[in-house]
Each structure stands twice: as C-alpha cells, then as structure tokens.
Amino acid sequence: METVINIFLTFLGVYFLIGILFGIFFLFKAPKIDPLMADSKKKVRFLLFPGVIATWPFLIGKLFKSKTA
C-alpha cells in the first residue's frame, strides 16, 4: 500500500509542480492561450492561476494546437 501511496503522491507533486510553472507562464503569456485575455484585466490572470495549475494538460494542448494551426 505504501508503494501505491508513494507513486500517487509523487504523481500529485509533479503534476502540481508542472502546473505552477505553466501557471507562471500563463501570468505573462495568457493571450497565447486565449486571445480574449489580451483585453482582460491583469487581475483576471491571478484569479485564473489556481485553475490553470489544475488543468494545465488541457491548456498546454490548446497552446500547441494554436501554434500548429
């Protein structure tokens, strides 16, 4: 059981760490993910920060899609 717990918590830690790094990228480059962010107030980016950490795999996917489009 301890192995399962260790794997789960390591996964959780890595997930949130990447999320935080992506969140910092988002704070500066949010319009690259959604052009509507360009006209939105900067405070909105901070409000969205926790959600970006939680959903970074989806947003990274969107970022790559918009780059290849």
């Binding site: 059981m1 301890e2 717990i5 789960f8 918590l9 959780l12 993910i33 959604d34 509507l36 962010m37 006209d39 939105s40 107030k41 405070k43 909105v44 409000l47 969205l48 926790p50 959600g51 950490i53 939680a54 959903t55 989806f58 947003l59 969107k62």
Partner: protein, 342 residues
C-alpha cells in the same frame, strides 16, 4: 457572452445573493460556536473550527446539489441556479478551512510531510471500522479545488464545454467521498444518531430529486412523433405559448420550437455556454434567451447577435392545418431558416 473576461460577473441581483451567502455562512458559524460552548464547553477552538466549517461545507454541498434538479422541476428555482457558481466556490472555501485546520492540527506538527502523513499515519486500509477516513476527505477536497478553480468562463471556453462539464460532474464523486469520509470518520469517533439521520436524509433528498428530474426529462425524450414524408409531426400550434418554446427529441437531439411575433422557428436546445436548456428560456428583445445565464440567439439563424459569435444548429419547420412539422435533419450551426408564418 463577452469580448473579454471579467474578474467576477456581478449584477445587483448576484450581489444580493452573494451577500446572502456570506451572511448565511457567518450566521451558521456563530450559531454553531454558541451551541458548542453551551453544550460542550470543553471543545477546543481548533476542533470547533474543524467541525463548524466541515458541517457548513456539507450543508452547502447539499444545497448546491439540489439546485439543479429543483430548477428542472420548477422554474421558480432558476434564479438560484444562476448563482450556483458562487455558492459552489464558497462551499469549497468552507471545506478548505475544514481540511486546512484538520491537516494542521493532526498532521503538521510532526516531522513528516503533512500530506504524506494524511495517507500514512493510519495504514489500516483493510479495516472498515478504522479506515483512514481523512484520505477520503483529502481526495474530495482535491476534486472540489479543481471545480472551484475552474468556475470561470475562461475555463468553460478553453477546456471545451464537454471537458468542463465532465470535470464538474465529478462533484458526485466528491459527494460520495464526503459521505464515506463523514460516516467512516466522524461517526466512528462520536456516533450521533441525529447527525447520521441528517446525512441520510440529505442523501435521500438529493437522490429522489435527481430521479424525479430524470423522469421528467425522459418524458420529453419519449414523446412520440409521427413521420410524414420525411417530416415529423410534433404538436399543434396551440401547444406552444407565445414567446416560449416546446422541446422535442428529434434524431436523438433535443430541439426547441419557438413561437414569437406570429412566427415559428426551431433551434438546437443546448446553449453553447454551459449546455443550458434554451427551450426553457423565452424570447426577450427578439432573441432566444437561455434561462441559465442569459446567453442569446436569434431564433431564425441560431446565431448570437453581433458582436458575439456563438451559434447553434437550426431546423426547418412547416405548418399544415395548425399542426407543426419538423425536418429531423439539423442544419449547420448558424444556418438561416425562414421562419414559418402562423
């Protein structure tokens, strides 16, 4: 409908609701504290906070979960549905305070990482009577965090409505984890018949309301239509109220047929915003207006009025002897269809 993202979308109505939420939460905490000190004066402040915010979060979660089916059963509840997002975030904050204080009091004072300690301080995972119930609360809190953190139109738009909806449907998994957390944990330590009964009553209420709402929806899906030369006979013209719609299931899709200004138009029933039932809304200022958050579409082409860009599918209609017929083939989203004159 917006051209940028707002911090919080507030109007005077929503502000009133939010004040009510804050006042209700404060009142509950005060009453809980007073009752605890009167009847159980030995309770420590930390324990009081853990119990007060934990029970508050559970009550709020029940309210969040009954709003959906209630508003489907009775449109008078729709205004509460509009504010469910703020109620959900407030519920997460209450749960977060409960979880944060619990972790601090029981896991943060040793030399082990508090989160690791939640999972490993009690390894009795095979026992029902001594199950490490805090793990279940932690997992529920993770789900509630993801939901609260993505309760913004930015995520609805960027995760896609499908992913966003799936993520937020996880509230039922969180609810199941919380029920197990409460039954295996708090009731293990201090079995209170009153608390057990209250939780059971809450579960029965939520389940029965969801079942009733599901039966109501099933009626719409099972409504019979008659085929005539590729057109489906759906209803009489008198069955549809002025500036309102009647919903039918056509080719496994829900379609709303609106009657307005002496005309009829049909559009897909699902709003592009959060999947709200457009057919339960009304025509306001010439636009179909979603009852959930006020997103609007022109009935003859399914397009949001400029500068907005949302579009839904449209359908062809015909009227013969006051009977409404629909072509079951959906047209591309935003396709203009000449309304049928009544």
């Amino acid at each position: 409908m917006a051209l940028d993202y707002k911090l919080v979308i507030w109007n005077s109505f929503k502000k009133q609701y939010d004040k009510l939420i804050v006042a209700g939460m404060l009142l509950y905490i005060i009453v809980f504290a007073v009752l605890t000190f009167v009847f159980n004066s030995e309770t420590s402040v930390e324990t009081l906070i853990i119990r007060a915010f934990g029970s508050l979060a559970i009550i709020m979660l029940h309210i969040v979960l009954v709003i959906g089916p209630l508003s489907r059963l009775n449109e008078k509840f729709l205004p509460i549905l509009y504010n469910r997002r703020h109620l959900g975030v407030s519920m997460f904050l209450a749960a977060f305070i409960h979880g944060g204080f619990s972790m601090f009091q029981f896991h943060a004072l040793g030399d082990v990482n508090p989160i690791y300690s939640v999972f490993t301080s009690n390894m009795d995972y095979n026992s029902l009577s001594n199950f490490p119930f805090q793990v279940l609360g932690f997992l529920a809190l993770l789900i509630l965090f993801a939901m609260a953190a993505t309760s913004h139109d930015f995520f609805l738009s960027n995760l896609s409505a499908k992913v966003w909806k799936r993520l937020h449907m996880m509230v039922y998994l969180a609810y199941a984890l919380i029920i197990a957390h409460v039954f295996l944990g708090a009731f293990q330590q201090e079995a209170s018949l009153f608390s057990v009964s209250l939780m059971a009553l809450g579960f029965i209420t939520i389940s029965s309301l969801h079942l009733r709402a599901a039966f109501k929806e099933r009626k719409i899906d099972r409504a019979k239509t008659i085929v005539e030369e590729g057109w489906l006979e759906v209803c009489s013209i008198d069955d549809i109220e002025e500036d309102r719609a009647k919903i039918f299931t056509v080719n496994k899709e829900r379609v709303a047929i609106f009657k307005y200004d002496g005309k009829l138009s049909a559009i897909h029933n699902v709003c592009k915003h959060q999947g709200g039932p457009l057919g339960e809304g009304k025509i306001i200022d010439g636009c179909v207006t979603c009852p959930w958050h006020g997103y609007q579409y022109l009935p003859h082409n399914g397009q949001s009025p400029p500068p907005f860009t949302e579009k839904v599918a449209t359908y062809q209609l015909k009227l013969k002897n006051d009977i409404v017929y629909i072509n079951p083939e959906a047209l591309a989203e935003g396709t203009e269809v000449k309304p049928v004159d009544i």
